[in-house]
Symmetry: C2
Subunit: 138 residues, 2 copies
DNA sequence: ACAAATGATACTGATTTGGTATCATTTCAT
DNA sequence: ATGAAATGATACCAAATCAGTATCATTTGT
């Protein structure tokens, strides 16, 4: 039961490294060294972030990636949604059926509360906050 | 990203039905009718609940299941743990490595908070509460 | 022209989840 | 005793998701 998948995690860490880098343009090779994420997987992931407008990419000889937005503009919920879809902790069970009584199910209420809390917790958290004290340098 | 798996859901619903039933001993056949869960799957699941001491089973001709504890003694966290292991929403990424800096990772903090909230939300919730207004009759 | 970068996309392998199938054992009713 | 009707134990299977590869095309600076 994981809130955050490996891909999301990798993505966030890559973003942090790009944001922190002193180079203007960061290449996949750089990131493979700093993050130790398998190269082809990382590549796919960065391409996705580019397509989604979180990164800007430059092709050709001295190409690479930069942030398309400033760290304080990049919500991490955005990243999560990109790789995991919208956060939905509770689906009414018996999926095929229509649940007649969503109002009165106490289990559902609990799950909904947790989800609301999660949503509030993430609200407004941007890459900037995460950057502040990211571990896993090396 | 689901908090509760299908198996857990089925289990809870089966327990509710057993608890509500007027029969002393409830058989799998009864439950297949009331819950529409596939029979062999349901069987496996009830056997597990029996092994774990949540249900009591009776073999032989007029056998079946009853609750081994009263509804107010059955914590639903117990059920969740049985089928999904202990709730752990955050694993430090890069599993193989030891994460050097668990204290300062802001992402981890958020995840931990959510997990604590979830734990508190479930604390003390028993089958009895869930029973009160279980939908999906029919 | 060529090397060094990304773009696009299809494929593969591992794990987890949801579900089956089968046979053994117990017990009640006759 | 015996057989039907229940559960116990266990091995198996299929679909979905997750993690990762492989390949070829395109762009661009030198
Ligand atoms: S199972 Fe449908 S609302 Fe609870
Ligand atoms: S990634 Fe290890 S604590 Fe955040």
């Amino acid at each position: 039961m994981k809130l955050i998948t490996r891909e999301t995690d990798y993505a966030i860490r890559a973003l942090v490294h790009i944001a922190k880098s002193d180079k203007e343009i960061v290449t996949v090779t750089d990131l493979v060294e700093t993050t130790a994420v398998p190269r082809p997987f990382l590549r796919k992931l960065l391409q996705t972030l580019n397509r989604e407008g979180v990164l800007k990419s430059f092709k050709g000889k001295s190409g690479g990636f930069t942030l398309a937005l400033s760290p304080e503009e990049i919500l991490i919920t955005r990243i999560i949604t990109i790789f995991q879809g919208t956060m939905q902790l509770n689906e009414c069970m018996f999926k095929k059926d229509i649940c007649p009584n969503t109002e009165t199910c106490s289990l559902r209420k609990i799950l909904n509360n947790i989800q609301d809390y999660a949503t509030r917790s993430f609200a407004g958290v941007t890459l900037k906050e995460i950057m502040k004290e990211e571990p896993h340098e090396s």
